[in-house]
């Protein structure tokens, strides 16, 4: 089966930032979480997939189709949620619905009404009167109501209360019960990824540091702790984001077996890292306290 998303050597340059040779692959029927610090390039990557931003070079294929030549077809199969939903504030929810329904051939009015009920969206209320979280819910309802094969969401859980966030993550899981549906979402909230994602892609300063299944990540990556005396130039080759303190060091490894072998006979502890640990240590880099 064609992967839902395939990106090869994608480049985008701004004056002060660039996405550098991004390559990743997301098979159909899975949820991928995109994490990284602010300004890492998550939103730019999502906009490039939708061709809302012009790339410098590289290739993006969605459902096996080039996203430049099949722009309209691809967008009709994508449910997109922007990090800041932009709607004209004087329009009512039902007017936005009327507008969207004409653009999507698979639009399902009953589903939209049902989601509005579920999400507590008032059809007759103007956008201006909705809170940020409710606007995000509207955006989600719109994205889910046209039977999209691919949900592409930029920080969809931001601004939502914890209860709704959990409900939403459950909804993602429901969506991909249909094997043809795929979800890609960016977030800062790592617990959301631990709960829902099958694949995790970490992006930092415009580069992908890893993109793999969550299971693989937790099987192979480790949080290494030990005394400062065992850290030398050679051993640091196996470690990332080393943080020293007077009490010892803490670092990440992408291959805990290799580290076990390299530090054999030395007093180290290898724990399972949380996504928070990974994000924190990778984004901070080496720290000597």
């Amino acid at each position: 089966m064609e992967p839902a998303l395939e990106i090869n050597k994608l480049r985008k340059e701004y004056k002060d930032f660039k996405l550098n040779d991004i390559s990743l692959r997301l098979p159909s029927g899975y949820i991928m979480g995109l994490i990284g610090p602010n300004g890492a390039g998550k939103t730019t990557l999502i906009k490039l997939i939708l061709n809302m931003t012009q790339r410098k070079s590289g290739e993006i294929k969605v459902f096996g189709l080039d996203n430049l030549t099949h722009e309209t077809d691809i967008r009709s199969r994508i449910g997109f949620v922007h990090e800041e939903p932009h709607y004209y504030s004087y329009l009512k929810v039902k007017e936005i619905r009327a507008l969207f329904s004409r653009f999507y051939t698979n639009w399902n009015n009953d589903l939209f009404s049902s989601l509005c009920g579920e999400f507590g969206l008032p059809l007759n209320k103007r956008i201006a009167a909705l809170s940020r979280g409710t606007k995000m819910k509207l955006s989600l309802a719109l994205a889910l109501s046209h039977d999209s094969d691919f949900l592409l969401m930029d920080e969809p859980t931001t601004g939502l209360d914890p209860v709704f966030r959990r409900d939403l993550l459950r909804k993602f899981s429901e969506v991909i019960q249909n094997e043809n549906k795929t979800v890609l979402f960016s977030t800062h909230i790592t617990s959301d990824l631990e709960r829902a994602a099958d694949y995790i892609t970490y992006i930092q300063k415009g580069e992908i540091l890893f993109s793999c299944t969550k299971d693989h990540l937790f099987e192979t990556w480790g949080l290494v702790k030990g005394g400062n005396e065992i850290l030398d130039h050679e051993s640091k080759k196996f470690l990332k984001g080393v943080q020293r303190s007077p009490y010892g060091f803490k670092a990440l490894t992408a291959d805990k077996e290799k580290v076990r072998r390299a530090f054999a006979g030395k007093n180290i502890l290898i724990d399972k890292p949380s996504l928070d640990d990974i994000m924190f240590l990778l984004s901070k880099g080496e720290i000597n306290a």
Binding site: K47, L50, M52, T53, Q54, E71, T72, D73, R75, S76, F80, H82, E84, H86, Y87, Y88, S89, Y90, L91, E95, A98, L99, F100, R102, F103, Y104
Partner: protein, 226 residues
Amino acid sequence: MLKHIRRELIFNQTQLYIFAGYMIVFWIWIDWKDIPFRMSLVFLSFVLPLFCAVSIQAREEKFKAWTLNCSLPTNRKTLVLARLITSWSLMFAAYVFGLLFSALFQENPAFLSQFLEPKSLLIFLLFSSLFLAFLFSFVIRFGMSGVILGLVALQVLGVITLLLASASNNKDNILRSFLHSIINGVKFFLDHDPTPGFLLLLLVSAAAVNIFTFKFSHFLFARRDF
């Protein structure tokens, strides 16, 4: 295309109410001040593109609607074409409104008879197309602040040109010749007999300008990041 035009109209409905109000005031002013038809036509040809191209864009930027529009299942070519067609639809609606308003309230019969001439419509079409060509392409690429800067720069350039032209008494002054050629060009169109060939020339010129506007605007818009 209809769904796109509908989207434009729904998204810009507040602007349309303001536009309608402005048109009523405009025609009352024309009638009240007894502005000659030729002058009214020139005013109209500049006011309508300005309103259609610029003020709608201002709303768009306020609500960042291009981001939403560019995420819908469509392409930028269609978005540009829809905007151009909507702008022309509004401009024609405003023209027809002016015609009806004049038929009802204009006391000068010559004004209405001139208004009804096909030549008037075609001159409006050509002049508006020329002004829209500049505004539309500029605004779609550089946004509202860009077009304001562009208009201010044009105005400053105009003032400097006028000052330089009046500073010299030399009849061969190149700036004077340039300004006279513009005035003569406008007079040529306004005074020319409405022969079929001339009307066809107006129509073909306006069509060519609009095709250029569309192609150039799309070229610029396709390079814009959202």
